[in-house]
Symmetry: D2
Subunit: 334 residues, 4 copies
Amino acid sequence: METVKIGLIGAGRIGKIHAENIARRTFGAQLTWVADAFEAAAKETANTYGAQATSDPRRVLDDKTVQAVVICSPTDLHAKQIEEAAQAGKDIFCEKPIDFDLVRIDAALNAVRQTGIRLQIGFNRRFDPSFDRAHQMIQGGRIGRPYLVRITSRDPKPPPPEYIKASGGLFADMTIHDFDMSRWIIGREVEEVFAFGSNLVAPEIEQLGDIDTAVVSLRYRGGVLGAIDNSRQTAYGYDQRVEVFGSEGTVMVGNRAPTQVTVGDKNGFQGDVPMYFFLERYEEAYRLEMRHFIECVREKKTPSVTGADGRAPIVLAHAAKRSMTEKRAIRIEG
Amino acid sequence: METVKIGLIGAGRIGKIHAENIARRTFGAQLTWVADAFEAAAKETANTYGAQATSDPRRVLDDKTVQAVVICSPTDLHAKQIEEAAQAGKDIFCEKPIDFDLVRIDAALNAVRQTGIRLQIGFNRRFDPSFDRAHQMIQGGRIGRPYLVRITSRDPKPPPPEYIKASGGLFADMTIHDFDMSRWIIGREVEEVFAFGSNLVAPEIEQLGDIDTAVVSLRYRGGVLGAIDNSRQTAYGYDQRVEVFGSEGTVMVGNRAPTQVTVGDKNGFQGDVPMYFFLERYEEAYRLEMRHFIECVREKKTPSVTGADGRAPIVLAHAAKRSMTEKRAIRIEG
Amino acid sequence: METVKIGLIGAGRIGKIHAENIARRTFGAQLTWVADAFEAAAKETANTYGAQATSDPRRVLDDKTVQAVVICSPTDLHAKQIEEAAQAGKDIFCEKPIDFDLVRIDAALNAVRQTGIRLQIGFNRRFDPSFDRAHQMIQGGRIGRPYLVRITSRDPKPPPPEYIKASGGLFADMTIHDFDMSRWIIGREVEEVFAFGSNLVAPEIEQLGDIDTAVVSLRYRGGVLGAIDNSRQTAYGYDQRVEVFGSEGTVMVGNRAPTQVTVGDKNGFQGDVPMYFFLERYEEAYRLEMRHFIECVREKKTPSVTGADGRAPIVLAHAAKRSMTEKRAIRIEG
Amino acid sequence: METVKIGLIGAGRIGKIHAENIARRTFGAQLTWVADAFEAAAKETANTYGAQATSDPRRVLDDKTVQAVVICSPTDLHAKQIEEAAQAGKDIFCEKPIDFDLVRIDAALNAVRQTGIRLQIGFNRRFDPSFDRAHQMIQGGRIGRPYLVRITSRDPKPPPPEYIKASGGLFADMTIHDFDMSRWIIGREVEEVFAFGSNLVAPEIEQLGDIDTAVVSLRYRGGVLGAIDNSRQTAYGYDQRVEVFGSEGTVMVGNRAPTQVTVGDKNGFQGDVPMYFFLERYEEAYRLEMRHFIECVREKKTPSVTGADGRAPIVLAHAAKRSMTEKRAIRIEG
């Protein structure tokens, strides 16, 4: 089996997860470059896995032995780096979102199209074994025709204000995952969106002009309906549930707990809280999405999460925001 | 303990349930009259419990020994019968909805107010032990401040076309219960409604101009958000779930199954489907709402489900329908 | 449908439950006599349901219109009353246990055999909808050949010392139900028993020479194995679980909770404790066993819980006790 | 942090797991030697992790840089290798069982005692996060005084006949884990054992004179009782459940499923089967037990699973076998 040589661009929190998965938890892959604007960060990760470090991503793109890059830089660099990597002929894994600006997204996707390189967007949840199994069941007809999709997606605690500022707002930062999940799991595009948003949890988020709680309604092709609820904070950890209800039954994905312990006493029977946050909950999903990417690179297959899949949720996030402001349903142009 | 004498007006499916609960399952109550336009139906129920039968509700109202009436007639008679019973000085239990017309509802509620009689509306789900306990927990601060309410309410199969015709539409017939549930369980009024509806299940319902599937979004006072989903048909029975998510936790009411049997084999571990429909699921709730009514009559207390509670969900049902047509959020006038 | 006239002998706690079920919750049955050594007790129950009261059971047996008797007197009277009722030609429902003395049991069963009347023993748990369903599944081959049966049966709190004195000891009083459950649910007889007992919960039980905690091992025909655990006290209510493990799978019956409420907070996700005790847990089972008895009387069918079913667990209880003392397995003579 | 150099003795299935955990999944450890009688096997594993390979364990013991050895050879070599490694001054991790012969076990433990080296026995289940948490809860008093421990431990399928031949029999091969679990989780020693065994699953096991199904009863110090059930085969995967019932409540550890998917349809609501077998179920436990061992070696701490913990379950296994044959409880000499 040929070893795929990979350069990492951006060695922050997510970048480090991908580095570990590439270097240690995927057969047939080698991490050969780590680029980060903070050279110390690049070096730290590079040293751990025996890669070269640089503060200039250009050096990674110039290395002819590098077949693919994994882009985990700040969001505002994604689109440009996709274009540059595409022009350098590298296959690309890029963290979500591609960008908040559709013009820039389209330019990036255009570069990808013209060069014919592979692009996979980091919607990791699709690779979670539970969601993947539910998806397979639904695609396989286990619940008949889908009627409704319901998603609960709540974070354990709000990110810091600096993160909120660059996040694109709740719909583009949090709901984006749920938009992707819903499109993918029922295999249908959204036609109409409506959103209510509130400030209930974090005054600092309100001061930044963003919301912390939302309910989003969706209408998909064929009249399938959807409801998503989001919150930036829970008392009990990371809450990630999906249900798809159809003509022959309903499939539900529940939370995962770190233990299977239940204690019964005079107050009731109590089980564990869910795993704390995305790093724990989606540990395996991160590993599996990277394995999929490396397999696509090696075998010259099209990744299952395409550039179009990266674009669609941004369209929906913008529509949700406009809907919330204009208090009306927004139609999505196909 | 004084025995409360009660006249039943309307001896259809629900009327018979109330008759049984009054006559056999509540201490200190006696069913003395059964009125039904079909005299044979009146007689059948009356004979079972040793009551008098009539096809004319007037005779019940004229009987001075009757303290209270239970109105289970067709919906279009409710408002008028409330007025007449109020004028006859009888305390009233009336099945939901009071009417679909707010003018008629207000006339009926006005008569109730002027005569000072007691009126309880038949929102039976409030008396279900699980919902009641969740309500108490929430009111008692167990989950802190409420942020979100989610309701799934799906029937096992659609009613016949004749029922649909007189039903007032899905929002006034099915969602009405969920509107009531949500207002009551979080103790807040709705400020804005948005609804998507679809025809996915039953072509005959579409032909009658109604929908069979819906997702309704709500915004309550203080910014609390809500999402309701409804379907006229499931493959697995009656689906009645409620979740209220708040600052300190989340409280969830799940479905009730007829048995506690789980079978594990090579395909997985399988438990029972939920109880089939409302007669099974809410058997105890029907008994407890009637017990509450009789207690209010005897002890001259105000029932916990008031005329205003009967009116509010109708306002919401109209708003939801208008929202669906106009594709915009509808503001509820306080 | 012919109305079956029934006399109740013994109007204590269980007697009252049967009285209510006969008089109010079973079609085609009438409670015509209530006998109790305490005439006041007989009168109270008799008056509630319009029956005649007596302190002398003989009067019930002498009434030619009485078709069947329900014996709920103290255990030491059961055997003699069965004989007398059999000789009077009455069909008999008798609470468990028939007696603790096998000689007296055999005399009673002999009288039943000779007179050809019907006898049903009050092993109510067989009629619980969950256990009944599990039984049907197992008999229907759902889990293949049975390998193992596991029963957990724990009471919420110990009975008073006076009850313990007359109880025949834990094996004859508590485990008797589990012996019956296990024989019935797997459809096999026990060949060997071994028991460990302990005093962990209630010093007053130890002073009376009884135990409060036990683990019983069983070997059934064909090598099927069993394990029962019992305790006279839990912190969390009545614990009644059964599992039968077989070649194709495993069927488990779990506890029933009064509500379906789950609350999640920082400590975990907590559901309800089980229903408190047998009156709540087996309310429906008591009703269904009486319905079965009355149906057998009316239709001249053999009850599904026979006299032999009443005898076998007593043999096992004696063997368990002897095993505990002699610290060896006791073989059950077929 | 000092890197602990480790030699692996035995590169079979379990040996490979430990190799991976030492080399890749534990910080501060290095696998420097792999010894296996089959030199090819030694080489394969050694090459994967950059270690030296040998067919002679002596070479590992002679390497002064090796601080600790991990013994995963066939059981009949364990005791001798422990002695030799102890004499070479190496800290030792040894797979269970130490041996089936108490004389040999005692000789090995004696060598350990005299040399003062560290010895950890591979009771991996203690390191499973669920069992570990239950253990902590119990030790912390969460359920008060323990009354009863119940363990279900069933394998998905029987091992091949060659394995059975060398296994020491079901009690020494399977129940050994449950004996250890029960002693550890309630923190008490066994005083009496009784066992029933059967041949229900695998005729080839019967031909080898072993059993495939068992129920074991235990009495611990202070009168605490226990029940273990074992089977060599299930239709639904690996079944590993533990319950400890005490004065203030009960703590239960359930099975772990690979996904959190539930599908509801007309037949019921079905969740996943448990993880297939011990490699999947205890993946994390294997990693954590090795991490604990390496930490003990580095920090010169006593491992939590001692030589005495390796000896006690063998005593119990012998007693269980004798009990099954003699059909009586066997007293364990302290």
